[in-house]
């Protein structure tokens, strides 16, 4: 087995090779119909990743869904969206979305008007034939809005829209109204404005459902699966397309962004990859002139892509945002190899005038550099397999596979193809046309002159080059320190994309469309023992009863001691059993000390209020059973000042007197204490006050537009329940007092029982369970909705740190466990993992490449030298990213692997061939001139082809593809410059050291013996 084995075989059996390649390609292509697409960035994390599990647990626990956010904006109407027409539209759209059902033909059906009797079919198939074709090719069914059981993608009961969200408000006569915010669609301006005022008065709506400037309203459409979001968004667009006038519809939300990216990614893949092929074709045509000659590299690129993607699909992996980039990465690398071959072949053919001989010569010459360049590239990508991000692992391994396949095909398929399909005649004709030192090349003059000039310059100005390099490196290293790690799926779209516009517009009107959930939970099962509770109860009992009922208090306290010691002795400290026992004893005490007043109050309560006067009352009170005479005397005595009252008023006054005494009930006291001490964490006033402070603190953070918690719902409900209306005839002062009083009720009630009683009102609204989006059903866990105006990971991260700081500086009254969930937060986590993963994989593959270079060159100096271009390139690229403030995001991170492979490729070719030539020339000055002939031109061609070949990506509507396109060009340019400027300058300086005693060392010992036959 030697370096020509593969090529020899291919030249002997070209047909076999071509057929074999064809067969494998067909097999790979056959896998394509099984393709599954995965647009979910969540899959950047392993399925068993803690935050991801927690995110789903949180969604489950608090009944949260992914939302498609439909923003309706009216900038023109003076009332904003609060006009009859817009609200009618919002209402109809809401009910249409709620009505979505699967028709008999599989298409969606929605109602046509609010009566709900007439239905229409909605076909979301695009009208453009091209888009239809793409949908078929990518198995995207635009009408897929139902699950396997035919259920609508829209979770109806969780949809949030003015038409279907509960509101509490005052109705006339001091009564409370519980109804939907827009219970009835307004027909007049006045009615529309009532809805506006109601919305603005509810903290759960203001800034979330309706914007504070009244110009925008949002419908939050919950979907059962994220993958429905693109189609549901399309449905909304379809249903609102007939809207004329000033109402503008914007669709936003991370799920839509992610899903849309997925769909557009496919279109992108299908358009930009072929376009890149076309440009590669044209540039190579310019360089090599013969179509027949440039077909093999292009074919090779296509074949490797088909193989890699076929393998990916065949192995059952989904095509993810990452893996969709595989073709774009494989193509330049494989094309790169075959351009080396073609360039060399051009020159050799001129020499040998026989394609078999020329090919063997080329393969012999290039075998080692290509092998090592390939292995280093493979190492670069395969190292991604060490990252903790599954799609990145899959991506890395498949690119590595593609590169391997590309190398193999270069060794076999390219020679076989040339042998079979390109006639000697056409080659001779081609070369006969051209003349001069550069043989078949067309643009001899320009590139030849440029190379010659460059060569001379590197020799003469080596010090200056190295000095500039050092400066640039210093500048770059500083730039790296400025790098911001950040990503935001919405920013994957260009600024003129409807989603980006929606994002800007809605975040402008609202307090943020990026939601994260901050969950807080108490320490589980922190049941107090009887002893702990007893201490609290004892103190309270003394405070309340001791002065008024000293004897009873003594008895109660001694009863408590007994109960406590009984239960502690039995090792049963279940507080509930303690309370049962204590309640019994307390009731006994009440019977002993307070039954007279209880009986009196009860008797009075049942008296007939009709015709009741003070005197009649006096008689009737005496007739009540079980009442001490002195107690009824006290009652009547205290009622004396109100003796003019009659009827119900008199009765109420009597009862009010009784209340003072019946309130001294030990039984009631025990019940009350039980409610307080056994209250779950998020019914405790001190904890809720803490949440309130935490929310206030969050609002200090610039990127948080709004926070919503159970506390907000509680305060609003407490206010409305306690509200007392301004009565006619009140003085200004009274009105102010009343206002002040009402305002004070906008607060957290001060006992667990009061909190519990307000909460239970919220539990039972028109739409039950809305409260449980904010607090768990057992009130042991709370969920704060944090709305950010930016989906940038950096901003989310700042918020996380801020909360951490607040909690550590302000310890909560009971130990609380804080944990984040939500898509905005998930992105932060995988981003962090990716950066660290990429860094370590870059570092490890850097070392692997270095070791390989040392082995390849069998020389420490050459090994180190070969690392220079890629080191400079990577440093400069990342330095530049830092300087221009471009976020270090997913595509940028992946590019580091690319750089490693491509830059070292140039260096290997340059150094290996330089060393060969030095052996013949014996000094660097002549070698340098030689190197800046054919070898430098081959490298330059390569750089130009790849850099230009990927310019179509710059036109892509998706930013990550643009980034890749731009940086590919940058990498090529830099690696090219670094290889052709820095390397020769360094060699010039290190000539003695490099070539001293190493004259005979070469890449391969057999080199000398092998000749070209």
């Amino acid at each position: 087995m030697n370096r020509l084995t593969l090529t020899d075989f291919s030249l002997r059996h070209p047909l076999f090779v071509i057929l074999a390649v064809l067969l494998v390609t067909v097999l790979a292509a056959l896998q394509f119909p099984n393709v599954h697409f995965d647009n979910d960035p969540e899959n950047m994390l392993s399925e068993d990743e803690f935050v991801r599990l927690f995110h789903h647990e949180t969604k489950q626990k608090f009944g949260l869904y992914d939302f498609v956010i439909v923003g309706i904006v009216n900038e023109d109407n003076p009332d904003g969206i609060f006009n009859v027409e817009t609200l009618q539209r919002v209402d109809l759209l809401t009910h249409q979305l709620l009505s979505l059902r699967k028709g008999s033909n599989g298409l969606g059906e929605v109602i046509t008007d609010r009566s709900g009797t007439a239905w229409k079919t909605v076909d979301l198939n695009p009208t453009s034939q091209f888009k239809r074709l793409m949908n078929i090719a990518f198995r995207h069914n635009p009408n897929r809005m139902f699950d396997a059981d035919g259920n609508s993608a829209v979770i109806g009961q969780e949809l949030m829209s003015p038409s279907v969200v509960d509101n509490i408000k005052q109705a006339g006569m001091g009564s409370l109204k519980l109804e939907y915010l827009m219970e009835h669609v307004p027909t007049t301006r006045e009615e529309a404005l009532v809805i506006r005022d109601d919305a603005m008065n509810n903290p759960l709506f203001k800034g979330i459902l309706v914007s504070e400037d009244s110009k925008a309203v949002c419908i939050y459409v919950p979907i059962s699966e994220k993958s429905f979001s693109y189609n549901v968004a399309a449905l909304v667009t379809e249903l609102t397309k007939s809207w004329t006038g000033s109402d503008k519809v914007h669709i936003a939300g991370l799920p839509v962004a992610e899903d849309t990216f997925g769909v557009e990614m496919l279109v992108q893949m299908a358009t930009s990859a072929p376009l890149a092929m076309l440009i590669l074709f044209i540039i190579m045509l310019v360089f090599f002139r013969r179509i027949a000659l440039i077909i093999p590299p292009l074919l090779l690129a296509v074949i490797t892509v088909v193989w890699s993607m076929g393998l990916l699909i065949g192995l059952g992996f989904d095509v993810h945002i990452m893996s969709s980039m595989i073709p774009i990465f494989i193509m330049p690398i494989t094309v790169c190899n075959s351009i080396h071959v073609l360039s060399e072949f051009f020159d050799s053919y001129r020499r040998f005038q026989n394609k078999t001989t020329a090919l063997k010569h080329v393969m012999h010459e290039l075998f080692m550099p290509m092998l090592y360049a390939t292995i280093t590239t493979i190492a670069g990508f395969a190292s991604l397999a060490t990252t903790p991000i599954p799609p990145v692992r899959i991506f890395g391994l498949h690119v590595a596979f593609g590169v391997t396949a590309g190398w193999l095909l270069t060794m076999t398929f390219v020679p076989a193809f040339i042998k079979m399909f390109i006639s000697e005649k056409s080659l001779q004709k081609l070369c006969a046309v051209s003349s001069g030192a550069d043989g078949c090349e067309v643009n001899i003059g320009l590139m030849g002159r440029a190379m010659r000039w460059m060569g001379i310059m590197t020799y003469k100005r080596s010090t200056a080059i190295l000095f500039i390099t050092v400066l640039v490196m210093g500048f770059s290293i500083f730039g790296i320190s400025l790098i911001k790690v950040n990503d935001n799926p919405v920013k994957w779209f260009t600024e003129d994309h409807p989603l980006r516009i929606a994002d800007t517009v809605l975040n402008d009107h609202f307090d943020g469309t990026y939601t994260a959930y901050l969950t807080l939970s108490g320490t589980p099962n922190q049941t107090k023992t009887c002893r702990e509770e007893a201490a609290a109860i004892r103190n309270e009992a003394k405070a309340r009863f001791e002065t008024l009922l000293p004897d009873a208090t003594r008895m109660f306290l001694s009863d408590m001691d007994q109960v406590e010691s009984n239960f502690n002795r039995a090792n049963q400290s279940d507080p509930n059993r303690c309370f049962v026992e204590l309640t019994k004893r307390a009731a006994d005490i009440d019977r002993q000390f307070g039954s007279s007043w209880t009986n009196l109050a009860d008797g009075v309560n049942y008296l007939d209020s009709e015709n009741l006067t003070f005197d009649i009352l006096k008689q009737k009170v005496l007739a009540i059973d079980g009442v001490k005479k002195e107690d009824s005397d006290v009652l009547m005595q205290k009622l004396e000042p109100h003796s003019s009252l009659t009827g119900t008023e008199l009765l109420n006054a009597a009862l009010a007197v009784c209340d003072n005494f019946t309130a001294l009930s030990f039984e009631e006291f025990v019940y009350e204490m039980k409610a307080e001490v056994t209250a779950p964490v998020f019914k405790r006033p001190e904890v809720l006050n803490y949440i309130e402070r935490l929310q206030e603190n969050l609002m200090q953070q610039g990127k948080v537009g709004k926070t919503t918690s159970a506390v907000d719902a509680l305060k609003k409900a407490s206010y409305e329940l306690n509200y007392s209306a301004i009565e006619p005839g009140m003085s200004q002062q009274q009105i102010e007092q009343r206002d002040q009083m009402n305002k004070e009720f906008y607060s957290i009630p001060d006992s667990s029982a009061a909190i519990g009683q307000v909460y239970i009102q919220l539990e039972g609204m028109k739409k039950k369970d809305t409260l449980f989006h904010l607090v768990s059903r057992d009130y042991e866990e709370a969920n704060i909705w944090v709305q950010l105006t930016s989906g940038d990971n950096q901003d989310m991260n700042d918020v996380v740190l801020d909360v951490q700081r607040f909690i550590s500086e302000n310890p909560p009254p009971v130990p609380l466990n804080a944990q984040w969930a939500g898509l905005t937060y998930l992105n932060v986590v995988w981003q962090e993992k990716m950066v660290l993963g990429m860094l370590s994989s870059l570092a490890s593959s850097y070392i692997v490449v270095l070791v390989m270079m040392l082995i390849l060159f069998r020389s420490g100096w050459f090994g180190l030298l070969s690392m220079v271009p890629l080191t400079v390139t990577i440093t400069f690229i990342y330095g530049l990213i830092g300087w221009v403030g471009k976020d270090y995001d997913m595509p940028v991170a992946i590019l580091s692997a690319m750089t490693l492979g491509l830059s070292v490729d140039f260096a290997i070719h340059f150094l290996e061939r330089g060393r060969e030539m030095y052996k013949r020339m014996g000094n660097w000055m002549e070698t340098n001139a030689g190197m800046f002939n054919e070898p430098a031109k081959a490298i330059s061609r390569n750089a130009i082809v790849i850099a230009l070949g990927f310019t179509p990506l710059l036109l892509a509507p998706l930013v990550p593809y643009r980034t890749v396109g731009f940086f590919l060009a940058m990498i090529m340019l830099l690696s090219w410059l670094a290889t052709l400027l820095i390397l020769p300058a360094l060699i010039r300086k290190l000539e003695n050291r490099l070539f001293n005693n190493k004259m005979n060392a070469s890449i391969n010992g057999t080199h000398e013996k092998e000749g070209v036959k």
């Binding site: 059902r101 709900g116 006569m173 309560n605 019940y671 306690n722 039972g764 059903r777």
Partner: protein, 259 residues
């Protein structure tokens, strides 16, 4: 007094026997009898209720009811014993099938009586899967009734709302026992024709001559949540005074509710 009761019981028995044999009742008549059987038994009635939600939450309350003579109006008093934090909370409802109900609410810890403005009766009863309307009864005129099937033991009646915009269902079907006229099951269907909600009444016992369901269940099929109410200490015809169904008794619960 005893004689009167006996007379009523005989009368009811007679009606029952008569109706069981009468195969040609109209849907409206069946529904009317069912309404009578499930919401109007006796002159008044009281029961202890233990409510259990599928998520583990519970509510314990006593419910008092009093019919009005010569009218479909009724008064309800609901007094909560537990859980601890809502102890002594009370609701008062004056049900008026022909108009808007009057509703009051007493929150002891806030020392607050609040009137609830008339509104949608299909709102959750204290966070359960039951609606207020399920507890107090739906107006007979609100729906159009159609007898769609008569089995050996049951009438099956389909009800379509006269004003679909006021309710979340498009129709509901009720299975009514022929012998007691107690509705045993109701299924609510949405616009897509899917059954999304089910009420069932089980454990039928004859108490003071009145067939009474001791266990009722409401299920939300879409979300999978359900609520079961188990009744105990049911008693009819205690002669409740009107005054215990007034605001005054919200703050100070009647003995009938606390004993």
């Amino acid at each position: 007094m005893k004689n009167i009761k006996l007379l009523i019981m005989v009368g009811i028995l007679a009606i029952t026997v008569f109706s069981a044999s009468a195969a040609d009742l109209t849907a409206d008549e069946i529904v009317s009898k069912a309404n009578q059987a499930s919401y109007y038994a006796g002159k008044d009635g009281s029961a202890k209720a233990h409510m259990e939600l599928s998520d583990g939450r519970t509510r314990d309350f006593v419910i008092l009811r009093k019919n009005t003579e010569n009218s479909a109006d009724q008064k309800f008093y609901v007094y909560f014993n537990g859980p601890a934090d809502v102890r002594k909370m009370a609701y008062l409802v004056w049900k008026k099938p022909s108009g808007d109900d009057d509703r009051w609410l007493f929150l002891p810890a806030l020392n607050l009586v609040k009137r609830i403005a008339p509104g949608d009766k299909r709102t959750s009863f204290v966070g359960s899967d039951f609606y207020y309307e399920d507890v107090s009864g739906r107006g007979l005129d609100a729906d159009m009734h159609e007898l769609i099937e008569t089995t050996d033991t049951q009438y099956v009646v389909k009800n379509v709302p006269r004003d679909p915009s006021t309710v979340e269902f498009s129709s509901y079907t009720v299975w009514i026992d022929k012998d007691t006229f107690l509705p045993r099951q109701a299924e609510y269907t949405d616009a897509g024709g899917v059954v999304y909600r089910r009420l069932t009444a089980d454990d039928i016992q004859i108490i003071q001559g009145y067939a009474t369901s001791m266990k009722q269940k409401a299920e939300d099929i879409k979300t999978g949540s359900s609520t079961v109410i188990t009744f105990s200490e049911i008693s009819y015809d205690q002669g409740f005074q009107d005054q215990i169904f007034t605001e005054r008794f919200l703050r100070r619960p009647p003995r009938e509710a606390t004993r």
